[in-house]
C-alpha cells in the first residue's frame, strides 16, 4: 500500500461517514423509506469495505515498524543525549542535546548547563561521556559541544573513544530551502524526544511529546524581565514543551526527519504566554556549519549576525515624560527617506515591519531593533484611511 492510497481510503472514511447517515436517520426515525434503505446499503458496504481492507492490510503489510509516532520517536531519541551540568544553587542542571556527528558533536541550547566546568552527556544506550563546550553563539543562543571519551574508560587508555554514533546530518542543507526534510506545513504532526524534569536516567527512554506544527514566525520574547537575544524564525508547535529539561530536545516530523530543536523557556512579548517552539533546522545547520568550519580562536564565540549600518529615516516623535502617548508623527525631516516615501505630519503609526506598536516608546524600540539597512514598512492611519508606506534606505550612503 502506498501512502497516497491510504490517504484516499482514510480521507473517504473521514469525509463521508460521520454526518450524512445520522442526518437522514433523524429526519425519518421510524420509516424505512428509500432514503434510509440506501443509507443502510451504504453502511453495509462501508463495513464490508473496512473488512476487505483490513484483510488486505494484514496480507500486504510487510515487516514494518510499529505504528503511530513510534518510528519517528525512536529515530529521534537515539540521536539525542541527556545533558547534565551546572544548575542553580546546589541543584544539578539538566537538559537535552542533538547528536550532530558520528564522532560526538552535540548541538544544544546555550544555557547554564553548558557554562560550567563539568558537562556530562548520556547517550541512548546509557554510555556516559564528559562533554566540552566548543562554540557558543549568543545571538542564536546555541552551543556546540564535543563528547570526550566515555567516563568509564581509563583516561590513559587510547582504546575505544567515541564509536560511530547515530546522528542527524546537518551538512545537506541549502539555507534558503529545507532540503533535508519534507517541507513542514501548518497542521503537520511533530514529535519531540527530550528529557523534561530529568525523568529518564541512563539508558531509559526519553519522553515523547506529540503535537502539530502551528506556524513559522519571528521570535519576540523575553526571559524573566530581559528580552531574549534570539530574534530569528521559530517553529511554533502545540505540544507543551515549555518545561525544564526540554530545551535542546530533538523535534522530528512523522518520517523521523529532524525539523528543529526545542528552544529555551521564554515568554512571548506579543501574547505574554509561555511559548512552545523549536529553532528551525536551517538555523541549526547554519550554526553547526559555521561552528565546525571556523577556526577555533580559543574564545569559543562565534556570531552570525551581519554588521550593517542602519539609516535615519527622518521621522520625529518625542515622548513626553512617562505618559503613554500614541505615536503620531510630529515632524518629517525635509528630504529624508520618510518624506520621499510620503509620510506626513500627524500620521498615526500603527506598525513597523509588521510589528504593531501602541505607543511612542514601542515605536522607538522597534526602530532601534529593526533590520539594519532594509526597507522600513510602516502602516499608518491618516484620517479614516489605513495606508502602507515603504521607506527605502538612501541610495548614496556617503551623503551626510
Amino acid at each position: 500500500m502506498t501512502i497516497s492510497e491510504y490517504r484516499t481510503i482514510t480521507s473517504i472514511f473521514l469525509n463521508e461517514l460521520p454526518n450524512e447517515p445520522r442526518a437522514s436517520a433523524r429526519a425519518e426515525p421510524r420509516k424505512h423509506n428509500n432514503h434510509q434503505v440506501s443509507y443502510l446499503a451504504v453502511r453495509a458496504s462501508i463495513f464490508s469495505t473496512i473488512g476487505v481492507f483490513s484483510i488486505l492490510l494484514t496480507l500486504l503489510a510487510p515487516k514494518v515498524h510499529a505504528g503511530g509516532f513510534n518510528h519517528a520517536f525512536q529515530t529521534a531519541q537515539q540521536r539525542a543525549v541527556k545533558l547534565y551540568g551546572l544548575g542553580a544553587g546546589q541543584q544539578v542542571g539538566y537538559g537535552t542535546g542533538i547528536i550532530a556527528s558520528e564522532d560526538g558533536y552535540i548541538v544544544t541550547v546555550l544555557s547554564l548547563i553548558v557554562s560550567g566546568d563539568r558537562i556530562r552527556a548520556v547517550t541512548a544506550d546509557g554510555s556516559r561521556y564528559e562533554a566540552q563546550l566548543i562554540k557558543r553563539d549568543t545571538d542564536l543562543q546555541l552551543a556546540l559541544l564535543k563528547l570526550n571519551k566515555p567516563e568509564d574508560v581509563d583516561r590513559s587508555s587510547q582504546e575505544k573513544l567515541i564509536g560511530p554514533l547515530p546522528h542527524y546530518d546537518f551538512s545537506c542543507q541549502q539555507s534558503s530551502s529545507n532540503t533535508c526534510h519534507e517541507p513542514l506545513l501548518p497542521g503537520d504532526w511533530i514529535v519531540s524526544a527530550g528529557n523534561p524534569f530529568k525523568i529518564a536516567d541512563g539508558s531509559e527512554q526519553m519522553s515523547l511529546a506529540h503535537g502539530v506544527f502551528s506556524a513559522r514566525t519571528r521570535l519576540d520574547a523575553r526571559r524573566r524581565s530581559k528580552d531574549f537575544r534570539y530574534t530569528g524564525d521559530v517553529l511554533l508547535i502545540d505540544a507543551i514543551t515549555s518545561n525544564p529539561g526540554s530545551p535542546g530536545s530533538v523535534m522530528v516530523n512523522l518520517q523521523g526527519e529532524l525539523v528543529g530543536m526545542i528552544g529555551r523557556l521564554v515568554i512571548s512579548n506579543r501574547t505574554h504566554t509561555h511559548l512552545n517552539y523549536a529553532i528551525p533546522y536551517d538555523v541549526l545547520a547554519d550554526f553547526y556549519l559555521a561552528a565546525t568550519q571556523s577556526p577555533s580562536d580559543g574564545s569559543g564565540e562565534i556570531t552570525t549576525k551581519p554588521q550593517v549600518e542602519s539609516f535615519d529615516p527622518g521621522i520625529r516623535i518625542t515622548r513626553t515624560g512617562f505618559r503613554t502617548v500614541l505615536p503620531f508623527v510630529e515632524r518629517v525631516v525635509r528630504n529624508s527617506p520618510a518624506q520621499r516615501a510620503g509620510l506626513r505630519k500627524d500620521d498615526l503609526i500603527l506598525s513597523v515591519n509588521d510589528r504593531e506598536i501602541s505607543d511612542v516608546s514601542q515605536f522607538t524600540k522597534r526602530m532601534k531593533t529593526r533590520g539594519p539597512a532594509d526597507t522600513i514598512e510602516l502602516v499608518i492611519r491618516r484620517k479614516r484611511r489605513i495606508l502602507t508606506i515603504h521607506i527605502d534606505p538612501p541610495i548614496a550612503k556617503n551623503q551626510p
Binding site: 490517504r7 442526518a23 505504528g67 503537520d188 502551528s214 501574547t271 498615526l348 489605513i386
Partner: protein, 394 residues
C-alpha cells in the same frame, strides 16, 4: 452525496489486487502511520481552506486592565465606578493582556467580523482589520457580549467570502477540533489540533476542546475536519470577570461558543446591543443543612421587584437544586442581564416560584446595611456573584 459515496466505495472495492501489490513496492507504511499521514493531510487542508475567512485585528492605544480598585466605604463616586466596571478584577498584576494582533472571522458578506471581546479588554483607541485579501481597514466595535466573550466589528467592505458553519447539534465528543489564529502576525494562521472534549458547558454557552487555545487564537474559529466552523474560541471560566479563563491558556481545557449560541447573539450584536453580566442584587449566605439564604436585597433590584424577602431560601434555579453559594454562582455567571431565571424559593415551609429577570449593574440600587455587624467568627458568610466585586467588610 450518497450516490457519490457508493460510487467511490464501489471503485475502491473493485480496486484490483495486482495494482495494489505493485505499488506496495514503493513505500511501506503500517496502517497506524497511514492514518497519521491522512489526518495530517486533513489538518493541512483545513488550515489552507480557512485562510480566506480569517482576519487579523490590530489595536492601538488603550491600557492594560487595572488592578482591583480599592473602595473606601464612604466614597460613593468611586463605588459607582466600581459597579460600572464589574469585570475589572480577577487575575492580579502578574497577568498582562496580549499586545500582539488578534484573530477574527468574517461573519457577513457586508463586513461584519466576529471575534472575542477578550481582544478589546484594553479599550483600544483604534481598531484595524486586515482582510484575507490583504486590505487593511479601520474597524468599528459594534457591540460586545461580556458574558460569552464575543465581539462584533464592522468594516466597510462588500462581497467578503463566508465560511461554512457546523450545525451544533451534530458535534460529537471525541471528534477532531482544529483551531486557527493569527495572534503571531503574518498571513499564515497558526494551527493547533485537539478533540472536542465536552458539550454543553457553561449553561450551554460553550463546547469544550483540548486543542490549545490562547490569545493567539481567541476570536478565531475552531473547525471540524471538513473545514466547517464549529464555534469561536474564547476564554471562559466558571467565575466572573472579563479576563476569566485567560489564565487557562494552552492547558488542554479551552472553550468555544457554538453556532447555536452565535445565531442568537450575533443579530443582537449587529443591532448594537451589548450583553452585560446579569445581577440579582442580593446578598446571601450558605447555611449548612439549610441552603442558600437571602440576607439582604438591594433597592431597586430584580429580586425586590419579584417579591423576594430577606430570609427566603433559594431552593432551585432553572430546575437545578442549590446546596450552596457555588451552585448559585454557577447558575448565574453565564446568564446575561435581561434574561429570566426560573427561581424556586421556600418561605416558611411553602414554595414560591418566581421568574426573575437579571439586571445590569447600573440599574441596581445599593444594598441596605447589614442588620448584624460582621462577625469574623462566622466562617460561612459568603457573597453572591453580584456582590463579589464589592469590598468585603473590614
Amino acid at each position: 452525496m450518497k450516490s457519490r459515496t457508493i460510487i467511490i466505495l464501489l471503485l475502491l472495492l473493485s480496486c484490483p489486487w495486482p495494482v495494489t501489490k505493485a505499488k506496495a513496492q514503493t513505500k511501506e507504511v503500517d496502517s497506524d502511520t497511514a492514518l497519521m499521514i491522512a489526518t495530517q493531510q486533513v489538518f493541512r487542508d483545513v488550515a489552507a481552506s480557512m485562510k480566506s475567512y480569517l482576519v487579523r485585528i490590530d489595536t492601538v492605544g488603550g491600557t492594560q486592565p487595572g488592578k482591583k480598585l480599592t473602595l473606601g466605604d464612604d466614597d460613593e463616586q468611586e463605588g459607582k465606578k466600581r459597579l460600572q466596571n464589574p469585570f475589572r478584577d480577577t487575575l492580579g498584576s502578574s497577568f498582562v493582556i496580549a499586545d500582539g494582533p488578534a484573530t477574527g472571522i468574517v461573519y457577513s458578506r457586508d463586513g461584519y467580523i466576529l471575534t472575542s471581546s477578550f481582544n478589546f479588554a484594553r479599550e483600544p483607541a483604534l481598531i484595524s482589520v486586515t482582510l484575507p485579501d490583504g486590505r487593511r481597514l479601520a474597524a468599528d466595535l459594534v457591540a460586545r457580549d461580556y458574558v460569552r466573550k464575543l465581539a462584533l466589528l464592522k468594516v466597510d467592505a462588500v462581497d467578503l467570502p463566508l465560511p461554512t458553519w457546523r450545525k451544533s447539534e451534530d458535534v460529537q465528543v471525541g471528534e477532531w477540533a482544529i483551531a486557527l489564529g493569527l495572534g503571531f502576525g503574518g498571513r499564515e494562521p497558526s494551527v493547533t489540533v485537539g478533540v472536542i472534549s465536552a458539550l454543553n458547558r457553561m449553561q450551554g454557552n460553550a463546547i469544550q476542546t483540548d486543542a490549545k487555545l490562547s490569545p493567539v487564537n481567541y476570536g478565531g474559529p475552531v473547525c471540524d475536519v471538513y473545514g466547517r466552523v464549529i464555534g469561536i474560541a474564547v476564554p471562559m471560566a466558571q467565575r466572573a470577570g472579563e479576563l476569566a479563563g485567560a489564565e487557562m491558556y494552552d492547558c488542554g481545557v479551552g472553550f468555544l461558543v457554538p453556532k447555536t449560541r452565535i445565531d442568537i447573539i450575533a443579530p443582537q450584536l449587529m443591532d448594537g446591543v451589548s450583553f452585560q453580566r446579569g445581577w440579582l442584587g442580593i446578598q446571601v449566605s450558605s447555611v449548612p443543612g439549610v441552603g442558600v439564604v437571602v440576607k439582604s436585597i438591594a433597592d431597586p433590584s430584580p429580586m425586590r421587584d419579584a417579591g423576594a424577602l430577606p430570609g427566603d431560601i433559594i431552593e432551585a434555579i432553572n430546575g437545578a437544586k442549590l446546596r450552596n453559594y457555588a451552585d448559585l454562582a454557577k447558575q448565574i455567571y453565564m446568564i446575561p442581564a435581561g434574561e429570566d431565571l426560573q427561581m424556586r424559593l421556600s418561605r416558611d415551609g411553602g414554595a414560591i416560584d418566581l421568574a426573575v429577570p437579571l439586571a445590569s449593574a447600573e440599574s441596581l440600587g445599593r444594598l441596605p446595611e447589614a442588620e448584624e455587624p460582621f462577625d469574623p467568627s462566622v466562617p460561612v458568610e459568603e457573597k453572591t456573584p453580584e456582590d463579589q466585586d464589592q469590598p468585603s467588610p473590614e
